[in-house]
């Protein structure tokens, strides 16, 4: 009898243990399902926002007119022009510049384990903008085109992008060197980034004196505050393709970034070559930043703010944080740009001004929160 009771007890212990194991697995599934739902809902929101943005602007169009123009059934050629050549390009640029900037900020934050990292706080954006301005002055690669008022298009966009990337590698290089010192704190890194940022801003300002004509001058000035109105289909396409490629690259490496979350030695004991992951991650992130900056100028703080917004909901599991940052980045930049276009219409504000107003307080808040509270 006693034996029977013990056997029974044992079994019941076992069975409760099992259910507890199953429980945490179900719990975990639900937890992850919530993240996926968030990403899906945000994606829908991006689409809705894009549709709304198509209707907004100085030339007023109804949703129906927009729809007809999008599918090419509009009778009015002006509608098709406005929708496709002006608004659609701008919206595509906003979405994918948002993706690119957000993803590079997110990757920088995770691989450096530094909540303050982002293309703008590490000086990468400023370096890229200097590179772009430098290319204009040195090679005369920028020209203002007449369409859309203040829009600048580029005769040789590749040279600008390459120059932007080359200069952004200076900031990236300094950051990589600093990370070799194990005790470089998050704040140290960001201070170095800010220093490099102001150096390159000064560089951009001084380039103005070398501008050969007003065209170049205005092109340079435009760089300091990013404006999505400068893109054409080629540049928007390049931003889109590059952002998608980079995001895919990061997604393929998501387990490496997850291991990096555990800390330097932990990641290494999990078989990760941390040095290599850090360097390649920073280079790819700088590349996409440089490309975006060279076509639309500096759109500050998107790379800083968006990952934190996504993290609030998703946490640091990069399997979900990577897509979530992409979607939230797209949404934030699209909303900001639509606001910038319509706030004091017909004047179109550069979207960079808006994101800076949003980002600077967030940056200060993060500093006050301290390094352990992301």
């Amino acid at each position: 009898m006693n034996r029977f009771i013990t056997a029974f007890k044992k079994r019941s212990v076992k069975s409760t243990k099992r259910t507890s194991g199953d429980n945490i697995l179900t719990e975990y599934d639900i937890y992850n399902a919530k993240k996926i739902t968030f990403i899906a809902l945000s994606s829908v929101l991006v689409l809705l926002m894009a549709m709304f943005a198509l209707t907004q602007g100085s030339y007023s169009l109804s949703l129906k007119e927009v729809f007809l123009a999008v599918i090419g059934q509009s009778n009015d050629i002006a509608h098709t022009r406005v929708v496709w050549n002006i608004r659609m390009v701008r919206i595509i640029s906003a979405i994918f510049a948002g993706v690119g900037l957000a993803i590079s900020g997110m990757i920088m934050q995770n691989i450096l384990r530094n909540p303050l990292a982002s293309p703008s706080t590490l000086g990468v954006s400023n370096a890229a903008s200097f590179g772009a301005a430098f290319a204009i002055v040195a090679f005369g690669s920028g020209r203002i085109s007449s369409h859309g008022g203040s829009a600048v298009t580029f005769t040789i966009p590749y040279i600008i992008a390459i120059s932007a990337f080359s200069f952004s590698m200076i900031s990236t290089g300094v950051i990589i060197l600093l990370t070799r010192y194990r005790d470089a704190s998050p704040e140290t890194l960001v201070l170095a980034g800010v220093a490099m940022g102001s150096l390159f801003t000064a560089g951009v300002t001084s380039l103005r004196y070398f501008a050969q004509d007003e065209v170049q001058l205005s092109a340079i000035i435009f760089w300091t505050f990013g404006d999505l109105g400068r893109t054409g289909w080629t540049t928007a396409g390049m931003i889109a393709v590059a952002s998608v490629i980079c995001a895919t690259y990061f997604f393929f490496n998501r387990w490496k970034y997850n291991a990096m979350n555990g800390g330097e030695n932990v990641a290494r004991s999990l078989g990760i070559n941390t040095e290599r992951v850090r360097i390649t991650g920073l280079i790819v992130a700088s590349m996409i930043t440089a490309l975006i900056v060279s076509f639309v100028g500096i759109i500050g703080f998107v790379g800083l703010v968006v990952p934190h917004m996504a993290r609030k909901v998703i946490g640091n599991d990069t399997r979900f944080l990577i897509p979530a940052s992409c979607v939230v980045g797209a949404l934030l930049l699209l909303v900001s740009d639509t606001v910038a276009r319509t706030l004091i219409s017909p004047i179109v504000l550069p979207v960079g001004i808006l994101t800076s107003f949003l980002g600077a307080p967030m940056f200060i808040y993060l500093i006050l929160k301290g390094r352990n509270n992301w």
Partner: protein
Amino acid sequence: MTLVCIENISFSYGKIDALKDVSLSLEKGNLVGIIGANGSGKSTLIKCLCGLLDVHKGHVTLEGTKLSSIPKRKLATLVGYVPQIQERATPSTVFDTVLMGRIPHLTWSPTKKDLEIVAKAMETMEITEFSLRDIHELSGGQQQRVFIARAMAQEPKVLCLDEPTSSLDIKHQLGLMRGIRDITREKNILALMAVHDLNIASQYCDSLIILKEGYVYKEGKPNNVLCKENIKDAFGIDVAIHKHGDFMHIVPVEESIVEDITY
């Protein structure tokens, strides 16, 4: 059967020689304790075994293969590591942290089996109730149990633990020691553990290694290694050893401590 063979390894941090000509042969199915004073080289030895540090002289072999010739990712499926000090880490839930242990085994995403291994490791370390909490919101000891669970989830052949009991309460210290010992038997793996508590070490470890200033000072069964003279030599304190059947109880003798302090 010999699993890990350490042959004449030396390691130095710049001018500081942390390990000097260490040779050991460690067998499967054992819990091996490393004891020694602060700075005697325990952590360094463990890091050399995990491939975190590359030895300067000599070599370590794992099942006959040189450690340096095993790709890091493969090595991570063979050797698990629990660090002594938790470094700066990005916030992450307990489950996700333990899941990291499966990363060396993963291809695209964790299978059901991977998740079950994680759940099992969490049950063993009694951390299921914290599953979705952030590790930074746990107490030091709870965190330590999470990191041990992560190393267990790796399902390694060699489990290296650097002072895993240092911030555990007495119940969890005993639970951990028993748990690790059982795992070494069940899965026929080697656990190598740096410990400070000599009583706990003597009670649970199959054999002990005493390090002193980077040398292997003594190695062998706890009962043989832990005698007054050896402890005096390794730690510079006088102790009294009481035997209770199979267990021994090591108590520092008060005067000598006072004496030491007045130096």
